[in-house]
């Protein structure tokens, strides 16, 4: 898809910034224009963390996303803050193991994934972010799974590659 703007949000330590980075690397792999912009305010110190990623076939304007074609949230405060950022008809992906309320919007598509449980089945709760990223890529086709895996191989830790790959695939399966 030509132009997509994504927000990833959750707690520090959940791999929010890495999700964005892998996606941006994958976009670059496909010769698309990409930008990645993290929250760097006081909120990142022990609190919530988020990043904006834009993947586009046109030059990118503001790297800060306010009209998101998709939002991925991994905690309740992030849902509270970013639900309204999703454009009409856009996509909201929720880690339903960590978010204890239903989204209010009815004009967007919502996918609720028990990402913690799936990640645990794969091998570790720490890779729940990859489950969600797999679902995002499957649903939005923002990049190909092949490019994403290549990005993971080149920029991720080698010893976690197989595990991460499995988590991505399980997330993609869930979103199909």
């Amino acid at each position: 898809m030509p132009h997509q703007e994504i927000i990833f949000a959750g707690f520090g330590g959940q791999g929010i910034l890495s999700m964005g980075k892998f996606l941006a690397h994958a976009g670059l792999e496909e010769n698309l224009n990409v930008s990645w912009f993290p929250s760097y305010g006081p909120e990142m110190r022990g609190g919530t963390s988020n990043c904006s990623v834009i993947v586009s076939d046109e030059p990118i304007g503001a790297p800060l996303v306010t009209d998101a074609t998709a939002v991925v949230v991994m905690n309740r405060p992030s849902l509270d803050k970013f639900e309204r950022y999703v454009v009409k008809g856009g996509l909201l992906i929720i880690d339903s193991d960590l978010v204890n309320r239903e989204p209010e919007r009815t004009d967007i598509e919502v996918i609720k994934i028990p990402a913690q449980r799936i990640a645990e089945e794969v091998g570790s709760k720490k890779i729940a972010n990859m489950v969600l990223l797999g679902a995002l890529v499957e649903k939005t086709k923002i990049v190909s799974m092949e490019s994403l895996l290549k990005a993971l191989k080149e920029h991720g830790k080698e010893q976690f590659y197989e595990l991460n790959k499995k988590a991505l695939e399980r997330g993609a399966e869930f979103a199909k």
Partner: protein, 357 residues
């Protein structure tokens, strides 16, 4: 063509400086530019060069003064309050006619202010900051690639004119990652040998002296005249700007720089769909200011110019000087770390254009 890599603005600054032959980096941490120093602390020793974290910004800029006086390429980096501290040293460096590169990744002020993106150091960068009749070249890149290219250019320009050069970005540019390519570059400039450097006699009869003290008024005035002649030369040769969307007449012309200019481009696209045509003058050098860009587009502009800034109105003064009464000048700004959205900018422009129609 070198392979494109995804890099954070702050880290790209470090790598660009290394590519440009920067021998010494002296810094002191401050958000949102700390990654510059962090990157340099790792990379500079790898390439056998000097990284030193000073005990303060004042110390860092004086280390720059010393290294530059010894004839090596040197850089320092900070964010707004830190640049205030360095300003005394910058004035000395300008007075002593030494080349160096200074990075300012701007955050909101005044005082300690905040840590979010801002452009409120425009006056400080372009109108002095430090004392005395000095000028420094100020680059305002709007993408990580342009940041890389201009940091490298900054070293050449500094050496050519024996003058400090600042590269100024906002927190957004420092923190964001974008694809960059480190081009194999060859300067087309004729860079003079640093025969003035205080690096030992090297067969000369007399020591070179690095100095900014001229107690006799006649001598200081003569020194100032010499500096002014150099600044005039820089104004003639080094102006850089981008004109965007000026094919044909425009209802309004935006003037905006840095990452904000990109947001303005998004606003321009939004307005285009509503039948409002807007052009953009993007100064790439904030000093020397691209006055001639205004002359170039003046006849195409129907309603006037609007300076859009992440400040309460600083560059707008240079816009007024450049327009020189020929058309109305408007202003829109957010400050304190607030980044305007394309929709906000578009709304403001519709108010102005609608009112004029």
């Amino acid at each position: 063509m070198a392979k494109k890599v995804l890099m954070k603005g702050n880290e790209a600054i470090g790598e660009a400086a290394i590519h440009a032959g920067c021998q010494c980096f002296f810094g002191y941490p401050i958000t949102p530019q700390t990654e510059v120093a962090a990157y340099m602390s790792r990379r500079m020793p790898q390439v056998g060069r000097v990284f030193l974290q000073a005990e303060s910004e004042v110390a860092a800029i004086n280390m720059v003064y010393g290294a530059s006086g010894a004839g090596v390429r040197v850089m320092t980096s900070s964010s707004s309050p830190g640049i205030s501290l360095k300003s005394e040293g910058i004035s000395y460096i300008a007075g002593a006619e030494l080349p160096c590169v200074i990075i300012n990744i701007v955050r909101g002020g005044p005082g300690l202010g905040g840590i979010q993106p801002a452009q409120s150091d425009y006056f400080q960068a372009t109108k002095g900051g430090g004392h005395g009749d000095y000028r420094m070249v100020v680059y305002a890149p709007s993408s990580v690639q342009e940041l890389v290219d201009l940091v490298q250019e900054a070293f050449d320009v500094a050496d050519q004119y024996r003058n400090p050069v600042m590269v100024m970005g906002d927190g957004m540019l420092g923190q964001m990652m974008e694809p960059v390519e480190f081009k194999e570059r060859q300067t087309t400039r004729n860079l003079p040998e640093k025969t003035w450097a205080a690096n030992g006699l090297r067969g000369r009869q007399n020591h070179n002296v690095i100095n900014s003290l001229f107690l006799k008024p006649e001598e200081l005035e003569a020194h100032n005249r010499k500096l002014q002649a150099k600044y005039a030369e820089i104004e003639k040769n080094e102006v850089k700007y981008e004109l965007y969307n000026f094919d044909g007449e425009v209802d309004l012309a935006i003037v905006s720089y840095g990452t904000l200019a990109r947001i303005c481009k998004n606003a321009i696209k939004m307005l285009e769909k509503e039948g409002i045509k807007v052009g953009l003058i993007r100064p790439i050098t904030l000093w020397p200011y691209p006055k001639k860009a205004f002359d170039e587009v003046m006849d195409k502009v129907k309603v006037g110019f609007i300076s859009i800034e992440m400040s309460e109105g600083q560059m707008v003064e240079d816009v007024k000087l450049s327009v020189n009464g020929r058309k109305p000048v408007f202003f829109y700004g957010r400050s304190g770390g607030m980044v305007p959205t394309p929709a906000e900018i578009a709304k403001k422009i519709k108010e102005i254009v609608g009112g004029a129609k």
